[in-house]
């Protein structure tokens, strides 16, 4: 056990040093700035910083449901990529059966993409510009 721990430390001490250095540097920069820098207070100082523009309106806005839809679509196709990465590292070992498995997987998700575009999930234009189509 002790032997193991020693070996682990011997192998990974540099990582630990790196973490410690990062933390120290951050603490030093923030601490030194707050000690050495001047302070001023005022009404405009306590406003939220918006890159120099004065903020307007409420923060509670209604977002279009499209954003959630796109987020979900992103997750689906992102996970597709995750599976394909797993396949790509083992592409020689799994051979043709793996190829056909991956091909079927991609085609199923492609069918999903076709479906999405047919039902208008990918249309970003405002309502009036969406093609009026009674066939779907």
């Amino acid at each position: 056990m002790n032997q193991n721990a020693t070996a682990l430390i011997a192998e990974y001490w540099a990582v630990g040093l790196f973490v410690a250095a990062v933390v120290t540097l951050c603490v030093f920069m923030i601490g030194a700035a707050s000690l050495l820098g001047g302070r001023s207070r005022g009404r405009s100082k306590s406003l939220p910083f918006e890159s120099g523009i004065i903020g307007a309106g409420s923060a509670r806005q209604r977002f279009s449901v499209k954003f959630y839809l796109v987020a979900m679509l992103f997750v689906i196709f992102d996970i597709e990529a995750v599976f394909l990465f797993a396949w790509s590292v083992a592409v020689r070992e799994v051979g043709w059966s793996g190829f056909w498995g991956a091909a079927i997987f991609i085609f199923i998700l492609l069918a999903g993409l076709v479906y999405d575009s047919r039902v208008g999930a990918l249309d970003w234009a405002p309502k009036r510009r969406v093609r009026v189509d009674d066939s779907i």
Partner: protein, 467 residues
Amino acid sequence: MPVGDLLPELILLVGAVIIVLFAAFSSHDRQAWAAGLALVALALATGFSVMQWSRAPMLSFSGVWALDGPAIAAKWLMLFSGAVTVSLSPQWMRSDRRHGEYYALILFALLGMIMMASANDSMQLVVGVLLSSTASYPLVAYHRGWAPALEAGMKYFLIGALTNALLVIGVVVLFGLVGDTDYARTAEALVDADPFALTIATACIVLGLSFKLAAFPAHAWMPDVAQGAPAPVVALLSVAPKIGAAVALARFVLLLPVDQAWPAIVALIAAVTMTLGNLAALRQSDVRRLLGWSSVSQSGYALMAVVVIGAHPQALRALLAFLAAYALANLAAFAVITHLRGRTALDDYRGLARAQPIVTAVLIVALLSLVGIPPLVGFFGKFLLFEVTIAAGYGWLAVVAAINTLVSLFYYLRVIAVTMFKAPEGEVHVLGIWSWLAMLASVVVLLVASLGVEWGLGLMASLRFAL
């Protein structure tokens, strides 16, 4: 890769994808053709799973996929309930502009449920449960403009999200204990596992499966779904997930070491589930809700067989016989409700016997089979359950179940009495020829199963899990 072992499932998957594409490109009046595609896929899948019967029991895909009697019998039942649901649907869904996708969702849900029954690996089980759950939520809320359907869908989703998360936690803890997800190796490694962590894992997995079973801690969605979801969907969701989950649960509890007190816990869940379901059904004045609660109590009966699954060699046969009897009766009952355009209040059923004698006869046969009146198949299911439960030393559970059966007689007979002895009120609207045929098919299969019960039980006599 033994692709042939997965042919029924692959056909369901490919069929669902074809239906999605078909539905996306076809006009409103052709959407119903997707039902035909779904029926073809279900028929092909059934055919291929019949061919698997002679090769069972075996394990495929390095032990991950079980091809054994229980899995295949459960597959037939689920595919049949899918076929009944699909043929009930076209006329019900006619006014829905995009109802083609609905059939794809049914096939995906069935695929998930079949995976649950065949899973011989805890990750496989999780994938099956999640697939069937996510495909079922939109099915429940398919009438998206109708508030009760959305409410039922939301309740179903919230309970499902919680219990599915618990299931995943349980599987992860189990994996941490064992270092493997395969059931055979899990059983070996669990003998000297930490009992506390194993208790947590078991509790989480049983909770997760109780959601699909509509059993005690996670049963609350069943009555709401029965009332709010489209009636054909309820026919599917009150039957097929239960079959998959019951087989999955039986497969899982057999892995646990004997010093784990799981039979006592499952017995407690069974007793509470059947009592709660029956007591809640007593006062219902809404037939769909009543059948929802009765479906909860029927899960309790099914769990009786799971309690003794390791103690009695015929427990598995009793479980499947009961599930088959329940599935056929419940499908017939919901087919009747669908055929009557989903009429739901008990008062709407007044004097139905005079207006629609055949429909009423089907309803009565279905309800009597649910109680377990002797010539019908429901009796044999319950009889076998009581037999194995008493033989394995759970007499108290059999007594509770017998009392519950007596209690349940009241509310089933109440529906029958309203149809028979009250004066009819108003006109009775029915759905159409398809739902009529599906209803007749389900009741004919129910009667055939009642007559051929000897043969069916003989076929199931040698059922066992592949190890």
